[in-house]
Symmetry: C2
Subunit: 491 residues, 2 copies
Amino acid sequence: MAKELTSRSENYSQWYQDLVIKADLAENSAVRGCMVIKPYGYAIWEKMQAQLDKMFKDTGHVNAYFPLFIPKSFFSKEADHVEGFAKECAVVTHYRLKVDEENGGVVVDPDAKLEEELIVRPTSETIIWNTYKNWIQSYRDLPILINQWANVVRWEMRTRLFLRTAEFLWQEGHTAHATKQEAIEETEKIINVYAEFAEKYMAVPVVKGLKSANERFAGALETYSIEALMQDGKALQSGTSHFLGQNFAKAFDVTFANKEGKEEYVWATSWGVSTRLMGALIMAHSDDNGLVLPPKLAPYQVVIVPIYRQLEQLATISEKVDEIIDKLKAKGISVKYDNSDNRKPGWKFAEYELKGVPVRLALGPRDLENGTIEVARRDTLEKTSAQLDGIEEYVEKLLEDIQANIFKKAYDYREEHITKVDSWEEFKDVLQNKGGFISAHWDGTPETEDQIKAETKATIRCMPLEFEPEEGKCVYSGKPSGRRVLFALAY
Amino acid sequence: MAKELTSRSENYSQWYQDLVIKADLAENSAVRGCMVIKPYGYAIWEKMQAQLDKMFKDTGHVNAYFPLFIPKSFFSKEADHVEGFAKECAVVTHYRLKVDEENGGVVVDPDAKLEEELIVRPTSETIIWNTYKNWIQSYRDLPILINQWANVVRWEMRTRLFLRTAEFLWQEGHTAHATKQEAIEETEKIINVYAEFAEKYMAVPVVKGLKSANERFAGALETYSIEALMQDGKALQSGTSHFLGQNFAKAFDVTFANKEGKEEYVWATSWGVSTRLMGALIMAHSDDNGLVLPPKLAPYQVVIVPIYRQLEQLATISEKVDEIIDKLKAKGISVKYDNSDNRKPGWKFAEYELKGVPVRLALGPRDLENGTIEVARRDTLEKTSAQLDGIEEYVEKLLEDIQANIFKKAYDYREEHITKVDSWEEFKDVLQNKGGFISAHWDGTPETEDQIKAETKATIRCMPLEFEPEEGKCVYSGKPSGRRVLFALAY
């Protein structure tokens, strides 16, 4: 088979790269660090978008669109924010090209220099809060609950398809509130939406928690994240929700008259998930045969392959397949029928395994005689023969089983890979030989976190929202600590 | 009323600007020429997107995503293309900012200059054909039928909300074919999709036609467009579909082995509609009271306003309203219930008129006694009293009537404003005093078209696909001509 993947055990990183390319999800473009998302990959992203968009709207949010460009001066207004993003900004300095008379081609026209440079948005807090300034006068104008689907650019030096790219697609919510309490509730509401999406749709179990100061968003008072565990034992931050306090309101002078007529600064949140979720989805479930997609996000949930020797048999098979398709569609199940004649069934089986289609049905003349059909599930690779009669209920049930099974598999793996550790030796041993999350005491200082990172590359992934208070000693410094936090190597 | 608009007769251009701002559709941003699309405006765009996306998929297309940036050198590869777009390109030259130690703020880091400048895409033919090069080897890889939803940037000097902005949102289809015939069929298929969308969903009648050489897309052999007529008698190009021949295939060396194994260049099309459609939608139907939205694209089709003197009455009204909402929703009709207590009904009526909500229902205690409800339609501003019993069928029918009526109104206006003209004096007279499309003979030369434009600002909007061959003389040069074409002033 031409499309064989590197195995996970051989080289996990290469396996991921192979899989993304060979399953036609994405590829690197001619522009350094920017990817092309191919139709099959984009179809998965569209399913994610549709579900997330519904969840945002169900929780009272609306969509809008703000400019791609941010005037450079806006960036200086919030000190932590500029420090966090200045090093990776694409900068527009000119607005015209002209023909190069001497050498041919085109050159930048030096006469078309912008008065103020424009930054291609790495995130939109600054341009949005500059806009909100004009929208907010009174408490009656609050809350503002806006989301934006957009592309953003962060000039990363080392990039990997979906996981870290110079341009990526995401949604960014930006909300404005009259009270601190309401803004914190919003921040928490969204991290719950993200967790529900990850677990119920992506079938990826996540830990919800707070980031340490080191890992907080530039400009936030508190960052909540969901953290997922990949099959190589590394964590992947999959979504973040930030309580921004009044930092951006102060930077852009956004105040409102409260019910008593007193001027106050507005409270803010922002939150986002990106095409990075594609990386999490791919790495959490897939195997050495290819992608394993949760039925709820698969571009098509079922593929049907006809099995025949003579082309004449195809018509009879196709007639039956059309009936099956109608029945499946009536159940809301998406189906692809691959009746192309230039590929053999074996090639098709491998191709749809590679592409992670949850259920494969194969129908041949003998099946037709017996009133049966061959059913293969992608997650376990099990094959069975089912009755054609009632196949739609059978498949419907099977898709639910698969969705539940791949979640359970990922959940069990994650649970087996949260290791309580109480000594520095053990910490290093588990990190190196087992991986996963390490649950350990930490003295709460950025210095200790930095030291641990310098020695092991492990970072604090989060301080889980659900935890048991427990007296202990910091695994590194030995200083007292009142709770455990989760460390891991991370993407 | 605080939100009064300039009237159309007083100042059409100001009326449009007022309407866009006051109906909360969009506003200018802090970045020159870039707009903020506000939630109400974006909700209309989302409805447009959803319908267009469905129509593209129903005709066999899939979505994908290509990079925002295009290496400068790619632009030189197709000569007409670079000439068309070089003058309005935003150029990224650096990838980092640094803190300005002397003056505070941030400055562009001179050490972070890109080796090759990147252009923010004004359109994506070049980056996409550079990608297709690797995707196409054999006729079996064709056709490629891809669409992309994206933002693009064209550094226009004079901008107007939705109609002409430096950044805009659009979709761009880019297809690759084995034969010329198939590419032409694709180009025509899409212009038909656009026309169907404009007429059936936007309720905007359009003329389908071919562009003259002067008005063709930079790099196309043939450009098809749909042209709509606004209430001020100016035309608005609302969508274009380009037959690109083998120009981009040759520029990027994209060949395929045909069935006989012979290498051939691939045939291409591209096509797009943008947030400019929002401008067409607004200008085609709206009046001095505000927006008039076609029911098929309205964010909510019905608004219900309760009428009461004492707050206690509201509970009884709301109970009935909940029943009505359930019945309307069961019919697939979207409804907003505005029971806010801080605004009077009169204010709400004016507000929803301004926002173009197709149907307004008002329910008070006397209606409840009589089993009736007040129904106001936005298009004609007619009010009537309807029976509460069966209100959902009544409203369903009314929405269909409104959709049909605003199309008819726009259609009648358009038909009254296609004027056959056979002399140059008449041409200038009609252009100045009546406006609309002028159907006239033209000698087919770019020179004549340029002269007419220089003298009158009128351009050839299109050579309609449907026409009667007719011998005549060019209205300007007097040279022979075999058909009439449509001239107009245009946005």
